[in-house]
Symmetry: C2
């Protein structure tokens, strides 16, 4: 990893950290958003740490796993890092596997200012293939059946 | 369209313009890149207008169509626009249809400075589902068969 540019190392660390929190305990994602952060989730817009954490923690599924298939990072002229991640949402039903994309704009300057290791300034989530609601309905059905 | 925020109007116009050029005549995409632009295409990095246009015009397919399924836009603190697009690459073979994602960071300030209507400062392309090379090989095979 030492021979990779610094923005790629930071971007990769962010992706690993973000998905670990997302899959294990979404309430902890509040640590990487600030009040200036914006999230677009499947076309819905949320601004500020509180609104974003409320959205992420109220998603209608409890257990899900991400499998990352590709990630790319670029530095921006104002010292941010632009990350794009493509992966799969997976549940324990093997046939339920949907492509998803995350775009994130990371600010190192604001992370330092706010005393957090990483700061997500802008984020966009999109689910490929079929409407997110369908995916979540299926996952809910599965959870009900399993319980 | 008039009730949409200005960044969303500009972002939507960019997406329409970009895909029209991409599908019809990729040589014209040079007009929206500058020497400070960076492109990551399926993990490969290209910097500067010349290198980006060379990559985009040397892609091993002649005819392709994009079908856009979702697009989201956000303004950034330094007056850029962050756009994320999910769509499908389509050829005339109906079974060949792959999800693709494009991230673009648009700079209005640099567009004005360089005398172009739109300026793509950062771009990332990712193909979901299967390696791009496989898709392009199939498209090439199709073109050979059709010719």
């Amino acid at each position: 990893m030492g021979d990779k540019p610094i923005w790629e190392q930071i971007g990769s660390s962010f992706v690993q950290h973000y998905y670990q929190l997302f899959d294990a305990d979404r309430t902890q994602l509040g640590a990487i958003y600030i009040d200036a952060s914006c999230l677009t989730w499947e076309g819905q817009q949320f601004q500020g740490k509180a609104a974003i954490v409320e959205k992420l923690t109220s998603l209608p599924f409890q257990k899900i796993q991400h499998s990352i298939t590709a990630q790319d990072h670029q530095p921006t002229p104002d010292s941010c890092i632009l990350s794009m991640v493509v992966g799969q949402l997976k549940s324990s039903l093997s046939w339920l596997s949907k492509e998803c994309s995350l775009l994130a704009l990371l600010s190192l300057e604001l992370a330092e200012k706010h005393g957090c290791g990483l700061c997500v300034l802008r984020a966009v989530w999109q689910i490929c293939g079929s409407p997110q609601s369908v995916i979540f309905e299926v996952i809910n059905a599965e959870l009900i059946v399993n319980n």
